[in-house]
């Protein structure tokens, strides 16, 4: 143990009062003055050393000068002189990666370095592209044993070549002297994926929120790499936009562009933009009615005030909204903003080599079109914003057709760059004209629409119909033998959670090729039942993926409201789509080891497992447990029964999972703690949320007990109810405050905004009314 004398302290005390004014340095920071003195001395020593070196048997200055540049890796990325735009972009991405990882000095060129000096010879050459796009690759391939491998249009490789055989007549002298790295694919976008695979090889991890570079810079070693990947699932789609404040509706184009960029790094190759009838993305009229609806978030407002729990998440904003729509109040203004958003999403997807598709419900119309459809049904959406056909309209109903065609044509004409259109018939199963069953009528209707000339005829060619979404298992089976437009696919809707979809794995795995071969699995990454509450279902994703791969399904269309929780699931999907052997645990370990450092993964695996269990428990107990709706919390107060036992277990799991995250956080490296801390706070929020709903249930039960025991001592039920309401309010406040500490994207802020509007304020008002 240290002694108690002042000598223990460093003697770094400088009294500026006595500092001589030689250099006029009075009143300057102590550190600057010291730096000046040290710097001068340092330079003097260096000069002396240089002179000594030059006058001795040590290497001469010319070699000394060459040693410095040699320490910085020199790389030339060679692309074809007529390389397509995406490969040029890939080259830029690769350069940026190499600079970030190795501080490399990178040149992008179409020819090998011509200089024959030592520096040029030390340059590493990376040949990027394919034999079809890069003559250098074609040349190099001729000298390689086995040549260039056969790759599908999605296949890609990263392969080191120590050096080309110099005595082979096919070896280009320009290439012969360099170590080479081949980075390419069967198409320009596959080449881009190969670049991201280089990053992955060196420990870069691609999260929805951005890239994480390893804390320990890897050695610049491009030798010995041999990765060749072909997809096990050819379609890897991400569904965005939708219609909830907690989802992508609140994301600006800039924020979406960033996320899409990350999805591209995870090798997603299709963006599905889900739109709803009342949103401001198209304008049209039909049957004498003009569209007037142009709302987001179901037209709800989410003000942020001093009394907003977790308001720190909003950074001073007084309204939670999509910033691209701020101040846009008229229909025309909102329509313009909406068009810019969707067009921007399409452009962003395509510039990254992704297909851009729109997902539209052909039997859902803004409510103002009720005038054109006699007996139209009001659909079950918040705010009663949409209508659908009634049984009075048959599949061939002219007015129905006109409105549907007008709507779809509007999309096709407004977004001419669109690649594909998905027709979603989910929610239309209640339309049973002429006694039809299930979704038969809606499927028939959609298939008729698919061959409408107005959809297929446009400048530059018709949009490709991707297929039908939202069909249940029986309907999907029936489509096996139906004729669909060329290239169309089927997206069966098997459930609103990964668990429910996995429950159908047997059916998925047993699907005949006639169905599987043109089907894509619609895959929620979490559970819509859990809505804003922490959720993970990677184990179920694994089951579904395995079944889909086994039966030869074309791919997956993944979706989630919350990008944050699902980072591990998304990461797993992106790796499993190319590596059939990878397990969720292995994928998570690969992710966490790089992001947070070693020995963190076991804690996170354990914690995430507890959350998966909690997700299952809640998903099973209530299909709309925490779906973001106006009654999401008050329904518990009105339930008037004690909470189910499974909730106590789920709550305990959230608490234990939180502890595991904090343990992981203790061991996480400095730059990787954001990852563990996010989940720690999210799970803390989950714990408080469960406390709150339990208390609401208890308050409701006290209410019921009080009603039953009216003859008992007055006030007992009231006291209990008030105490439970206070507990509920306090727990929700604490949970939202914890969540706000780590809220980083609009979905996080949306969850906080929604819970304030439909939870915190409502409970507060209920308490004030006591």
């Amino acid at each position: 143990m240290r002694g108690s004398h002042s000598g223990d302290f460093e003697g770094g005390i400088a009294s500026m009062a006595n500092t001589p004014a030689i250099c006029g340095l009075n009143n300057k920071p102590v550190s600057g003055q010291r730096a000046f003195r040290c710097g001068f001395l340092g330079v003097a020593l260096c000069v002396f050393a240089y002179l000594a070196a030059c006058g001795s048997a040590f290497p001469c200055p010319a070699t000394c000068a060459a040693d410095e540049p040699g320490k910085t890796p020199q790389v030339t990325v060679m692309i074809g002189p007529k390389a397509p735009a995406l490969e040029r972009f890939a080259a830029n991405e690769l350069s940026e990666l190499l600079r970030k990882l190795f501080d490399a000095r990178v040149t992008i060129a179409t020819e090998a370095p011509a200089r024959a000096d030592a520096e040029a010879e030390a340059t590493t050459l990376i040949l990027l592209g394919s034999p079809a796009t890069n003559p250098a690759i074609a040349t190099a391939a001729r000298s390689l044993p086995g040549g260039w491998p056969k790759l599908s249009d999605q296949g890609h490789l990263v392969r080191s070549v120590d050096s080309l055989p110099v005595n082979k007549p096919t070896t280009s002298p320009a290439l012969a002297k360099h170590p080479l790295l081949l980075v390419g694919g069967g198409s320009p976008v596959a080449t881009l994926w190969a670049v991201y695979e280089v990053g992955y090889h060196f420990g870069v991890r691609y999260l929805p929120t951005g890239d994480v570079v390893p804390a320990q810079r890897p050695a610049f070693k491009l030798a010995g790499i041999d990765r060749l990947l072909e997809p096990a699932l050819r379609t890897r789609a991400w569904q965005t936009l939708g219609d909830h404040a907690v989802g992508a509706e609140a994301w600006s184009l800039a924020e979406q562009r960033s996320l899409i960029g990350q999805l591209a790094k995870m090798k997603f190759n299709r963006l599905v933009i889900e739109t709803r009838a009342w949103q401001p993305f198209v304008d049209y009229s039909a049957s004498g009615v003009r569209k007037q609806s142009a709302v987001l978030m179901h037209g709800q407002l989410y003000p942020v005030s001093g009394d907003t729990a977790g308001r720190a998440a909003f950074r001073g904003a007084t309204l939670f909204e999509n910033p691209d729509f701020a101040g846009r109040t008229t229909y025309a203004e909102r329509l313009a903003a909406g068009r810019d958003l969707v067009a921007g999403l399409i452009q962003r997807a395509q510039e990254l080599g992704m297909e851009a598709a729109l997902l539209v419900r052909p039997l859902e119309f803004p409510r103002e079109f009720a005038a054109a459809l006699p007996g139209a049904r009001v659909l079950d959406v918040p705010g009663q914003l949409a209508i659908g056909p009634s049984d009075q309209q048959s599949v061939g109903d002219a007015a129905l057709r006109d409105i549907a065609v007008a709507q779809l044509s509007a999309y096709v004409q407004t977004y001419p760059a669109l690649d594909a259109l998905l027709l979603d018939v989910s929610g239309a199963e209640t339309w049973k004209p002429s006694g039809s069953e299930g979704t038969a009528a809606s499927i028939d209707f959609a298939l008729k629409l698919a061959v409408e000339p107005t959809l297929t005829r446009r400048a530059g060619g018709g949009v490709r119909l991707v297929g039908l979404a939202g069909v249940d298992q029986a309907a999907a089976d029936s489509l096996r033998t139906r004729s669909l437009p060329a290239g169309a696919v089927v997206l069966p809707s098997l459930g609103s959670s990964a668990r429910r979809v996995a429950a159908a794995s047997e059916w998925v795995g047993a699907a005949e090729q006639s169905l599987a071969g043109r089907s894509e699995l619609s895959l929620p990454l979490g559970s819509s039942a859990l809505g804003v509450v922490p959720q993970m279902q990677t184990g179920h994703l694994h089951r579904s993926i395995e079944a889909a791969r086994k039966a030869g399904w074309r791919g997956i269309v993944a979706r989630s409201w919350m990008a944050g929780d699902l980072a591990p699931g998304l990461h797993y999907l992106s790796r499993a789509a190319f590596d059939p052997r990878i397990t969720p645990q292995a994928a998570l370990t690969e992710l966490v080891d790089s992001v947070s450092g070693e020995e963190v993964a076991p804690r996170l695996i354990k914690g995430f497992g507890l959350v998966e269990e909690a997700t299952d428990l809640l998903d099973q107990s209530d299909a709309m447990f925490a779906e973001p709706r106006p009654d999401m919390l008050t329904k518990h107060l009105l339930a008037r029964t004690a909470p189910p036992e499974s909730w106590a277990k789920a709550k305990k799991n959230y608490a234990s999972a939180m502890d595991e995250m904090y343990r992981g956080n203790t061991r996480a490296r400095q730059g990787g703690r954001f990852f563990t801390l996010y989940f720690a706070k999210r799970f803390e929020f989950g714990l408080h949320y469960m406390t709150s709903v339990e208390a609401l249930r208890n308050a409701g039960a006290a209410n019921a007990a009080g009603d039953k025991a009216a003859g008992d001592k007055a006030g007992d039920g009231d006291e209990k109810r008030i105490a439970e309401l206070e507990k509920a309010l306090e727990a929700l406040h604490s949970g939202l405050a914890a969540y706000a500490d780590v809220a980083r994207d609009p979905s996080d802020r949306g969850a906080i905004a929604v819970l304030n509007r439909h939870g915190y304020r409502v409970i507060g008002e209920a308490l004030d009314a006591q």
């Binding site: 770094g12 400088a14 009294s15 009075n26 001093g306 308001r311 804690r603 206070e726 500490d741």
Partner: protein
């Protein structure tokens, strides 16, 4: 009482000197008995350190506003940068600290009345240690004697600058603190006469030091080896004819001689983790502390819960922060690379101070000698009232505490009789800041950015709830009829 023959008519130089001396001594004794600080660190209206004069949290300011907000009654505001240290006010200037860059710490001076920026000093911090949110690296509150400002930063040490110009006076390197749980530094200096007192209770090498205010030279340093990490600041207690420097720490409240650092007394009633600071009034020290768990919850449980990351029930060397490896090796008696169940009890917690958790409010008479545990505790309350973060306020013979959820409790200082307990002040959330009082009002700042104003009386009465627009972790300050409120990134001056 010293008698002096003031009535003598025989004048001689010796006699005059004796008379003058006698009067001076009498005055000093009288002042001491009345508890008057003979060398106040600044003007009476100053707020020269954390929680004001002697960290009491009480100001003599008048005409303070009841209702205000970040948009109302704001005399001036200034954007600083991230920080949770409190503003201090001395000689008409207000001083704040903030992080203004990734590795840059700044010390600001503004005119207290107008907010006019006077000067700003920047310091390169170098690589920063790990801390746990919501702590900030700029967490320490400076102190001032009116002529100089003293600011602490974990990687820089103690800085002294001229209060008027910001010119460097001296810097004293201090050992970088280390925390088993990565909480991060948050201790603050205080000024007593011509010394700067600073207590750094970390988990590695806790100590109390006195630096010469003019030169930064170490006057004395006293190790506090029995302590664990804590954040209590030194307070001064005048009792029994002398002044003691009192520090609350893990398990023990101690009094030291301010001239030498020698320990004068110890009261072994504290709990394991002490984050609140005591308050002194009329020679009595009041503490309100809460530490996780019950009396059996010694440090080893926390180590096994949070540092034993593979949860195998023993601590491996690599599970412990590197700064603690030497201590680890010493504790690893059988040298197997692990601290096992028979080694962990005393591995990082002193064997003579194996204290656990709980919740207490206590009044301890100052001026003792030796172990005063059984002799100087006037009263103790064990209830759920105290906060682990927010220090108690003693004002008008009442002791007030506030904790998470906005639950306040108030007791009479004479005997601890409760006036109200765990009553809601209608502002939920966490409370890091400590309550302060002036002008018949008590100001309580919640983390959610609201400042609740209570009437400073025997019954809980909420006068207002004021929105400052952003998180508040720093205790606000009062001087010259103004409130100075530090939100996470700004300082506001609020007045009528």
């Amino acid at each position: 009482m010293v008698r002096s023959n003031l009535a003598s008519t025989h004048f001689s130089p010796t006699g005059l000197i004796k008379r003058i001396f006698a009067v001076a001594v009498a005055f000093a004794v009288l002042a001491s008995l009345l508890g008057v600080e003979l060398e106040a660190p600044g003007r009476a209206e100053d707020w020269p350190q954390f929680r004001g004069v002697n960290a009491s949290g009480v100001s003599t300011s008048a005409s303070l506003p009841i209702e205000f907000s970040f948009q109302s009654k704001v005399k001036w505001e200034a954007t600083l940068g991230d920080g949770i240290g409190s503003p201090i006010i001395a000689a008409g200037r207000v001083f704040n600290t903030a992080m203004t860059g990734e590795q840059r710490f700044s010390l600001f001076a503004h005119d207290a009345a107008t907010g006019k920026p006077l000067w700003k000093r920047d310091y390169d911090t170098g690589v920063l240690p790990r801390i746990t949110p919501p702590n900030s690296h700029a967490s320490s509150t400076p102190a001032s004697d009116g002529k100089r400002v003293f600011a602490y930063f974990s990687t820089v040490g103690m800085i002294a600058v001229d209060a008027a110009t910001g010119a460097d006076l001296w810097q004293a390197k201090l050992p970088k603190p280390a925390y088993l749980m990565d909480w991060g530094a948050a201790a603050s200096p205080v000024v007593y006469k011509d010394t700067v007192l600073f207590c750094q209770d970390d988990d590695l090498a806790p100590y109390l030091v006195a630096l010469d205010a003019a030169t930064g030279a170490v006057r004395w340093r006293t190790t506090r080896n029995e302590m664990l990490a804590g954040y209590s600041i030194p307070v001064l207690c005048e009792s029994n004819g002398r002044t003691d420097v009192v520090v609350a720490g893990s398990g023990k409240l101690k009094g030291y001689d301010p001239a030498t650092g020698a320990e004068r007394w110890t009261c072994n009633t504290m709990l394991r983790t002490i984050m609140t600071s005591p308050v002194v009034k009329d020679g009595v020290i009041y503490v309100a502390v809460q530490s996780y768990g019950d009396a059996t919850r010694t440090l080893k449980f926390a180590l096994l819960e949070w540092l034993d990351t593979n949860q195998d029930g023993i601590l491996a060397r690599k599970e412990v922060p590197q700064e603690f490896w030497e201590k680890f090796d010493t504790s690893d008696r059988n040298k197997d690379g692990y601290i096992g169940t028979d080694e962990i009890d005393t591995a990082f917690q002193h064997p003579a101070n194996q204290v656990g958790g709980g919740s207490i409010i206590q009044a301890i008479r100052g001026g003792g000698s030796g172990d005063v545990t059984k002799t100087h505790v006037m009263w103790t309350l064990e209830n759920r009232s105290p906060s682990n973060l927010s220090s108690p306020l003693v004002s008008r013979d009442r002791l007030l505490v506030v904790k998470a959820g906005g639950l306040s409790s108030c007791f009479e200082v004479a005997d601890g009789k409760p006036l109200w307990q765990l009553s809601r002040i209608k502002n939920l959330g966490e409370y890091y800041a400590s309550p302060i009082a002036a002008d018949g009002k008590i100001y309580i700042a919640g983390r959610n950015g609201f400042i609740v104003v209570l009437e400073d009386g025997p019954a809980m009465k909420v006068l207002a709830r004021n929105d400052m627009g952003n998180d508040i972790l720093a205790t606000p300050s009062i001087a010259d009829g103004r409130l100075f409120i530090r939100t996470r990134d700004k300082v506001y001056c609020v007045a009528e």
